[in-house]
Amino acid sequence: MSIWEYANPKRFMEVSGRLLPPVAALAVLTAGTGLVWGFFLTPDDFRQGSTVKIVFVHVPAAMMAINAWVMMLVASLIWLIRRHHVSALAARAAAPVGLTFTLIGLATGALWGQPMWGTWWEWDPRLTSFLILALFYMGYIALWQAVENPDTAADLTAVLCLVGTVFAVISRYALLFWNQGLHQGASLSVAPGERMDAAFRHPLYLCMVGFALVFVALLLVRTRTEIRARRLHALLQRERMA
């Protein structure tokens, strides 16, 4: 018994079909509870007022935007090394979800920046590198859609994901030479005096878990759809041959 057994599409469909309902329910529960707690049951910040509550969407979305890319990187590596089709399809399924999280992070950041910094957009290293991350997501998705042969597309996008990761990381740190921004450093610093108050921290943790579960649930749904689409494609081709 090893984890690679789930790389078999049939095994994966069985297990993911059983996992999906509880994961989805848990995702709705945690994300819903976290957001309601964060939006309605926390006090207003003494300086930022109620705009501080954007943090409960902004931080988890930003976290998942990066984690989704890391997940795609791992899945691409597994595909390149072990040639498991489910892995390639999971990477493909994750990309639009990751792009959506990136755009949510950018949009909520703009909504927050307007009242707090007085500007919708600032060419800050963090903001700019997120914009660049969105471009990498778009290029990755576009390459998947452009190549017709699914195995070729999986190989090419996996190589792109590897190389893109290197350049995204270099860009992130290169931008620090270019402009010192408005965005604060770590949001969840544990250093004394910088740590967020427990009243905000606990619902935030819950939201982060909730968003991660939402990602897993969406990933399962989308991977299952990709597998079904691939089967349908194979069936249609076989029929055309016959």
Binding site: I132, M138, G139, A142, L143, D155, V163, F167
Partner: protein, 218 residues
Amino acid sequence: MRAVFLRDLAIAVRAGGGAGLALAFFLIVVVLLPLGIGPDTGALARVAPGLLWVAALLACLLSLDRIFALDAEDGSLDLIATAPVPMEGVVAAKAAAHWVVTGLPLTLAAPALGVLLNLPGPAYGWLAASLALGTPALSAIGAFGAALTVGLKRGGLLLSLLVLPMYVPTLLFGALAVVRGAAGLDAATPLLLLAGITLGSAAVLPVAAAAAIRINLR
């Protein structure tokens, strides 16, 4: 490898090869942008470093699809792939040829165009140095993008979407070196980092590009 390099150069230089096109495009962009920005020389001097670098980048982008597309169309890429030369070497030779045809002329022409944009005096040396160090990275990254899209019929727009985000660090350090040079500051640090990106790209990307070509030829 040398044969591939010389062959690509010969094809580019001959009639219809389009060797001068990138340079002409560079010139046109540099002429058009002040028309959009306005003739104020002070404003132009301030944006000149970034403008010249972005124009060089776009001019380089324009000719990328020629690196592999023509060879893939007439089948010579398959022949090269079966030749007893590693594909990595072929990619490196082709990227080098692309640089000689686009990056090198751009580097040589950029100071002249800097005059058009009223680039401050101390910046010229840094402009030439940063382009000389940075454009090889543009060719290497571009060769990787071209290798990814070589099997596609309409890969042009996709190629720019794939390649341009990867140009960010090169553009950033290149333009930063010129900006610092224009302000009379020492620009050695961004220049060194730029050289690092170029060397890293030249070392790693031919391998990735060769992998992409092998996948596309499968």
